[in-house]
């Protein structure tokens, strides 16, 4: 399809693929990027929060023209029961800084902007092109890809797999295992439109200030999962996700969970009168460090969600995608300047650079958290939210009962719910998993 040989082919035009392609083109490499969607972003789904630091390291002046919705000045963390939420809110005027740290974005629009930058940097982008398989030489080294276009074979020194969590190419080539139902979450989300002034008033915002809510509790009906609500300029993103294996046998539907969340008394007023314009679904890799596959080999690298780079505790993913993409791009460019071939031994430099960055440090830090949460889903997402809400309810209700009796009642409810041994055990195991 294209006669010339490229320095690199990037499979996918999401956060990691764009970061990688852009970085390589800026460092003078000849790059081909392949995207199966009609336009970059047409297959991509995210909450979405953009972490400025990761993008700044790629496009320092991105704020000049990127389609940013609102900068986040308030984070709400909620544990919810069927009728209540207990919240920890952090709101600060200090987040109204010249170069804000976090923004809400709309992925399809953001990805179009990012892709424009990638093409301006000199990358050749082909959309509506699905990569069907890798091409290898006699020694097994990856030397190119086959696509679903006529004569759709194209060659390069290295292939970067930025194909996302559901990436078929690398999985079918045996470069990494098929993700398991225990290690991915299925998330569904809707885009609800409201006039800007209504959102400002409802969330107490001025200008481009934004609020994000992360929620957990009985809203997932005993399954391991979380829900979210983010304010965009003239819309609200609302969604919920649970580990895929948790759905099996429960008869629960993802859209049923989403409807219930939207109708929760703490959420419903925030969405009142809105118009829903899109319903989306996507998998999120949640297995953490222990599920990170082999990241490089002869002629190939893997970046972003395809490499399971999501920090479930901090709800970070797109920044890890951009950072792994950037570091992969820098590594490939560095090898080229040294005239080193893209062998597994040389591409191991990518892994070394990741280990030295926050990416692997964070992934490693929380390596035991996914197991901890999944094994105690009933307690973490059901019992504790109920106990905490009950305690708050008892504490704040003025009913003629003396305070010492109220305290005793609260302690008794915790011990009845989980036994002293269970409580201490959970706290100890959480502390150990957190270290």
């Amino acid at each position: 399809m294209i006669e010339e040989k490229f320095d690199a082919i990037v499979v996918g035009a999401g956060a990691s693929g764009n970061a990688c392609a852009y970085t390589m083109a800026k460092l003078g490499l000849k790059v081909l990027q392949l995207e199966r969607g009609e336009y970059p972003g047409s297959k991509n789904v995210q909450g979405a929060i953009l972490y400025a630091d990761a993008l700044e390291k790629i496009i320092p002046d991105f704020r000049d023209d990127a389609p940013l919705e609102r900068h986040v000045i308030e984070q709400r963390m909620w544990t919810m029961t069927d009728t209540s939420h207990v919240g920890m809110h952090y709101r600060s005027d200090d987040f109204n800084e010249e170069r804000p740290n976090r923004y809400t974005i709309v992925r399809a629009q953001f990805d179009k902007w990012f892709s424009r930058k990638v093409r301006d940097a000199g990358v050749t982008l082909l959309c509506e092109t699905t990569v069907t398989e890798l091409i290898r030489d006699g020694q097994g080294k990856v030397i190119g890809v086959r696509t679903d276009r006529a004569d759709g074979v194209v060659f390069a020194n290295v292939v970067v797999l930025a194909e996302g969590v559901n990436g078929l190419v690398g999985q079918r080539a045996g470069l990494r295992p098929v993700v398991t139902p225990e290690s991915v979450a299925l998330a569904v989300k809707e885009m609800h439109f409201l006039p800007r002034e209504v959102i400002d008033e409802r969330f107490n915002l001025r200008g481009n200030e934004g609020v994000v809510i992360e929620a957990m509790g009985t809203i997932t009906n005993g399954m391991t999962g979380t829900a979210f609500l983010y304010t965009n300029g003239e819309s609200i993103s609302v969604g919920i996700g649970c580990i895929v294996s948790d759905f099996e046998g429960t008869g629960q539907t993802p859209y049923g969970l989403l409807e219930a969340f939207k109708n929760h008394p703490s959420i419903k007023p925030l969405l009142a009168g809105s118009e829903c314009k899109e319903y989306a679904a996507h998998l999120i890799p949640e297995g953490g460090y222990k599920t990170i596959p082999q990241l490089y080999g002869d002629g190939w690298l893997v970046v972003g969600d395809a490499g399971q780079f999501v920090n479930a505790v901090h709800r970070e993913g797109s920044n890890l995608a951009m950072t792994t993409g950037r570091i992969a791009g820098e590594t490939i460019a560095w090898l080229k300047t040294r005239r080193d071939p893209a062998t597994a031994a040389n591409l191991a430099e990518y892994q070394r650079r990741l280990e030295a960055s926050f990416v692997m440090k964070d992934m490693k830090k929380y390596r035991n958290i996914p197991d901890f949460l999944h094994k105690r889903a009933e307690q973490v997402f059901g019992l504790y939210p109920r106990l905490i809400a009950q305690a708050a309810h008892t504490w704040f209700r003025v009913d003629g009962k003396d305070k010492r009796s109220k305290e005793a009642e609260i302690f008794a409810s915790f011990r009845k719910g989980r036994s002293l041994f269970g409580l201490v055990g959970d706290a100890f195991k959480l502390a150990r998993a957190w270290r």
């Binding site: 199966r36 969607g37 009609e38 972003g41 047409s42 297959k43 991509n44 789904v45 995210q46 979405a48 709309v106 992925r107 399809a108 629009q109 990805d111 959309c127 509506e128 092109t129 699905t130 696509t147 679903d148 969590v165 559901n166 078929l168 098929v178 993700v179 398991t180 139902p181 991915v184 299925l186 809707e190 885009m191 609800h192 819309s235 895929v244 759905f247 099996e248 046998g249 429960t250 008869g251 539907t253 993802p254 859209y255 049923g256 409807e259 939207k262 109708n263 419903k268 969405l271 009168g273 809105s274 118009e275 829903c276 314009k277 899109e278 319903y279 989306a280 679904a281 996507h282 998998l283």
Partner: protein, 103 residues
């Protein structure tokens, strides 16, 4: 159907949600196929409720069927049945399938 949000319904209709989405359907070339014949596994049957687009249903004979038109290409069914081999999952041809306006 992009009407006001549906409040208080006990059994949400996924069809109404999907109606808001844009698709370019590759008519006559479904990208997901079931391998018929054997008794459906528990994993395959679970997709009747787990599939976020409600693509799966059970017919009178207890067999699982699929209509891929509303598929959002999340890959859940591929992951769930990876061990049973009951599903052949390909990406739609380039350009076809779901087209997110917002994502």
């Amino acid at each position: 159907m992009s009407g006001a949000m549906n409040t208080g319904s006990a059994a949400p209709k996924v069809e109404e949600k999907l109606f808001q989405n844009r698709y370019l359907v590759d008519a006559g070339r479904p990208h997901i196929k079931l391998n018929p014949g054997q008794e459906p596994s528990a994993a395959l049957r679970s997709l009747v409720t787990t599939c976020p687009a409600g693509c799966y249903s059970t017919n009178d004979k207890g067999q699982v069927e699929i209509v891929t038109d509303g598929c959002m290409e999340c890959g859940t069914c591929r992951v769930v049945t990876a061990k049973t081999g009951e599903i052949d999952w390909q990406y739609p041809r380039g350009g076809y399938g779901v087209l997110y306006k917002f994502g």
